[in-house]
Point group: C2
Chain length 197, copies 2
């Protein structure tokens, strides 16, 4: 049986949850308590030295320690339905948007949150190494999130984008009157059962 | 004919150059002068609104505006030799390392350079929007590059890693006595003609 190391409240494992649901890949779930720092403890570190969720222990192919590995594995092992495009042009477009949503969206939101929240002191980056917060980086992250929403308003849709847009609520950025396409797209995506994960 | 928008001195387009060489994909090259800011001018902006290199205009599939798109397209359109793994387990491992080298390596080096170099004032991030430098981020980037070299010393090899390790020279981090495996790996990679690109 596949085992997903998850945290129900965090955006990164949500990407894996939605992916597995869209692919129909059966799995059991183990919750890792990020609020209490369980990901940094010896028990979880032995499972994933990156000290991050999601991780997926697969029945056939061993342990996958990040979303990049989980997505590549899922597309190769369970090709239907394809989530990364069918033709070379589609694959290029999906890869490009995926990368942009990750760098311009998720990363900027995480920067804002991790460098500004008192609860995340010294946890400005995920993983086993502690990094001090940089308040200016929280401010820059917020500016980047605003630009990202303008970009997203014109284009796109996918798992990473849903997770990024919903995650942005934590730094008080929401799709609004300036983003009518984004509001419409998010409402349409809400029709898919996996998006409530 | 495929046209690569390139800059001979920059690390990001170097990834595309090596990829195209390893795949044997014929192309013409157009140099974009990043030092003089040609990527931000109207002419290049009309080609790639991201204002970044590489971009690849393909004969069959239109314009690709970043390395993510170029790599996905190349693997789908020219599958041999495969550069992203053959089996689901291989594809997962390549995707994971590719992601780590990009986030922990290339991004950290770029952070160090772009937030510390007087020549890059207000260009702390690539792309059409100007962001002010954050000196603390340059320092944090440097610490991350050091950790990244320790990680890399234990594991791995690929196009993105070669580019990251060589790019790190610009912030004066080099593989050394503490990284014997990394030194051996880089010497072995130097045997491949495409690595001199």
């Amino acid at each position: 049986m596949n085992i997903l190391y998850d945290c129900a409240t965090a955006p990164s494992p949500r990407r894996a949850r939605i992916l597995l649901a869209e692919k129909g890949i059966a799995h059991e779930t183990v919750q890792v308590d990020l609020v209490r720092g369980e990901q940094l403890g010896a028990a979880y570190r032995a499972i994933n030295p990156q000290c991050t969720v999601p991780a997926l222990r697969t029945a056939e192919d061993g342990l996958l320690t990040d979303n990049a590995a989980i997505a590549a594995w899922a597309e190769a092992r369970h090709p239907e339905p394809p989530l990364m495009g069918r033709t070379p042009a589609e694959k290029a477009e999906v890869a490009s948007w995926h990368w942009r949503v990750e760098f311009e969206g998720l990363l900027a939101i995480a920067e804002t949150l991790r460098n500004g929240s008192p609860a995340m002191a010294d946890r400005a980056l995920p993983g086993p190494v502690n990094y001090a917060q940089i308040p200016e980086l929280a401010q820059r992250g917020l500016a980047r999130v605003q630009h990202f929403f303008e970009t997203l308003n014109d284009r796109l849709a996918d798992i990473t984008a849903v997770v990024a847009v919903d995650f942005a609520r934590i730094v008080r950025v929401k799709p609004g009157e300036r983003h009518p396409e984004l509001v419409r797209w998010r409402a349409a995506m809400a029709q898919r059962p996996s998006m409530s994960l």
